[in-house]
């Protein structure tokens, strides 16, 4: 799998921490492999919306990758509940069901972006970078910044 310029947190230069939510173990493993190529760290995993909420509280991740169709509680409802408790939560919906109404519903409930499955790593990387904004930089940028500061 292609390696991407490592994304790290601006505040402490540590790897970006992800919460991966998907009822498919296969999908979670696939996303985890992508996260590793982004230089990130999986802070927690969940297989349904209810667990996602408790895992969010426990791990306080920088970003959440959330499936929509899941047992017990679907991703859009879980996203809404997390954002209600944590208004700054950054949630990216990752689903194969990418029709307009679904995307609009997710964004209205507080999700920041939507990525359609099958996930292309280069698309997810750009979305993560966009959603994290100034809170994440590439390792190379951080190193260049540190170099300038030293001079």
């Amino acid at each position: 799998m292609e390696q991407f310029p490592a994304l790290i947190r601006s505040k402490d230069k540590m790897p970006v921490r992800y919460l991966v939510v998907d009822d498919s173990i296969f999908a979670r493993k696939n996303l985890t492999r992508m996260i590793e190529t982004f230089g990130g760290q999986v802070a927690g995993e969940a297989g349904d919306g209810c667990t996602a909420i408790t895992e969010y509280d426990r791990t306080q991740p920088d970003i959440v990758l959330m499936d929509i169709t899941m047992p017990q509680m679907e991703g859009i409802e879980a996203a809404e509940r997390i954002v209600r408790q944590h208004p700054d939560a950054r949630i990216v919906m990752v689903s194969s069901v990418g029709y307009q109404e679904n995307i609009v519903a997710a964004l209205q409930k507080g999700a920041r972006h939507f990525v359609q499955k099958p996930v292309k790593p280069e698309v997810l990387y750009e979305v993560v970078k966009y959603v994290l904004g100034d809170d994440a930089v590439t390792l190379a940028t951080a190193a260049a910044g540190a170099g300038e500061a030293t001079q």
């Binding site: 999908a27 109404e101 499955k117 099958p118």
Partner: protein, 165 residues
């Protein structure tokens, strides 16, 4: 069964298999089947409810499923491994999700259920309204079978059309 209901599933399967396996695929035989479904290997069943109702069975022979799972996992996965089942379910999810997206953009409203592993030797039988379309895709890893039984839910469509805007 209308082909305009089926075509999005064929297109989605073709695109998803090509994308995930990073190879070209070829559609093998297509036929209509009213007999009970007999699975070939590891099968995932997804039910659809709403303006269109029915089910799709996504079926992969076990050695092929293991090869696909290994290719996607980047490491050898034995046929008995849970990951093989997971791979088939997720591929089914991807295909059906993409097809649903296309049908939804055409104005159909419905919901898909999470995939369930289909282990019975004989599956759901088609009916006059829901005869199944059976087809397979040839991939370098082996054949991938789909069995699609869909019908319009006329009552739901009529209710929606009659509802005041």
């Amino acid at each position: 069964m209308k082909m305009d209901l089926i075509q999005p599933f064929i297109n989605a399967a073709d695109a998803v298999l090509a994308e995930t396996l990073r190879c070209s695929t070829r559609i093998g035989d297509i036929s209509m089947d009213e007999d009970a479904y007999r699975r070939k290997g590891m099968a995932a069943l997804i039910n659809v409810q709403g303006d269109i109702e029915g089910r799709v069975i996504f079926d992969i022979e076990s050695p092929t499923a293991a090869r696909v799972a290994s290719a996607l996992a980047g490491q050898e996965v034995p046929e008995s491994d849970e990951m093989v089942k997971e791979t088939v379910c997720e591929l089914a999810n991807l295909v059906i999700g993409n097809a649903i997206t296309s049908l939804n953009d055409q104005g159909f409203r419905f919901k898909i259920m999470p995939p369930e592993v289909h282990s019975a030797e004989e599956g759901l039988k088609g009916s006059e309204d829901t005869e199944a379309l059976v087809l397979y895709f040839e991939t370098p890893a082996g054949n991938v079978y789909m069995n699609i039984a869909m019908r319009y839910n006329r009552r739901r469509r009529t209710e929606r059309q009659m509802a005041p805007a």
